[in-house]
Symmetry: C2
């Protein structure tokens, strides 16, 4: 294995959509933050009253899930050794690349600010040579092909049962494997995501939180690759 | 091993202290939330201008660290199997017990609301038979003795180098072991915490984030105890 990709898929991260930008819950929140409703992140904990009329609303408005997944992934020894790459695929189909050295904001409000900048401007920071996060113009399928990702596993409670250790061994047997974790609270993966997957596995007959699946698989990858033996 | 304790030590969680309750950064934040300055959690991301005059200010005002550690611990398979107990020891020396079945609020603002209730009222919820979180009157040393904790390891980058796997094996060789992770951003553990520790270990010659250390040790404990083999 040269490097392993974590794909946070159908991530519940998006700007407030046009249909609800005039809802009082959105307008109040936007004006308090001194931003336009089109420039703020959809957040169920704040915009819940407005979200009921949105399609698939149970699957949306949870940037906190991506936040904790990124904190876990970026703090890992696997990432520090340069073996991990993270891609966010959002519920809108956008694909976001993150520099592995990026320090993810610890504070949730700072994190949402960064994600808003990313979704409005297309990159963070908006100018300059250094790019920490970038929205790519491509689709998920193209990114997987262009990067030479040769094996894609998706984690879902309906998949074939496997232990974290065995999964890590299976991934590590490839040059550039990827594991896909859903970064949304409820519902199923999109057709687009299923379309790029080679194999569906499950870590147990129970719903597991995304951030736990992320750190759990990274831990076993660390053991299999031997980052602690150095 | 019957059960293992995670002790989140010197946790940077406290109510705004009296010295800075009249600072504009605190007053604005409190009035916006409709609370008294004595009832809100000290948070560096909000109260930074007020905190400069506090003793040990670099070590304080970071409830986000405990939040992510708790999310990781409570979502783990080890916890779901009933093998993990979590205790928070705060920078003020308070000891907090959390029911293992507690669903930690995913949203940071909700989490701070719960911690404020806990520190003001002493328990969550404030009334009724069910207690999810409780502030114990005792000191850390007493809790360790009363619960029959028979081996306490502290993680610190200055300790004896050990791999997560070897550490998990060392812990699991005891009936009721505990591992201590610092839930503060900078500085050293308090004398009180060092006073209860049998052994100091390090997972590597680098600063590791608390939430990563928590999930990393839990993962190896899961492997050693064999929770995935069922």
């Amino acid at each position: 294995m040269r490097e392993v990709y974590l794909i946070l898929a159908d991530a519940a991260v998006e700007l407030v959509p046009p249909e609800i930008r005039r809802h009082p819950a959105v307008l109040t929140n936007a004006s308090r933050r001194g931003k336009s409703p089109a420039e703020i992140l959809l957040d169920k904990s704040i915009h819940y009253p407005a979200m009921k009329r949105l399609k698939d609303h149970e699957k949306r408005g949870r940037p906190d899930i991506v936040h904790v997944c990124l904190l876990n992934a970026h703090s890992s020894r696997l990432n520090r050794e340069g073996l991990l790459r993270v891609i966010i695929h959002t519920i809108r189909g956008e694909v976001i690349e993150i520099d592995p050295m990026t320090r993810i904001p610890r504070n949730y409000l700072r994190f949402t600010g960064v994600m808003e900048q990313l979704l409005v401007k297309g990159r963070v920071p908006p100018k300059g040579d250094t790019v920490l996060m970038r929205r790519l113009g491509s689709r998920l399928r193209d990114e997987i092909r262009n990067r030479g990702i040769d094996f894609v596993v998706l984690l879902n409670e309906g998949g074939t049962l496997i232990t974290p250790r065995r999964l890590a061994e299976t991934l590590a047997a490839h040059e550039r494997p990827a594991f896909v974790v859903g970064a949304f609270p409820r519902g199923d993966f999109s057709e687009e995501v299923y379309g790029v997957v080679d194999q569906v596995y499950s870590l147990g007959n129970m719903l597991l939180d995304a951030w736990y699946v992320v750190s759990r698989i990274i831990a076993s990858l660390e053991d299999v690759v031997g980052v602690w033996d150095k």
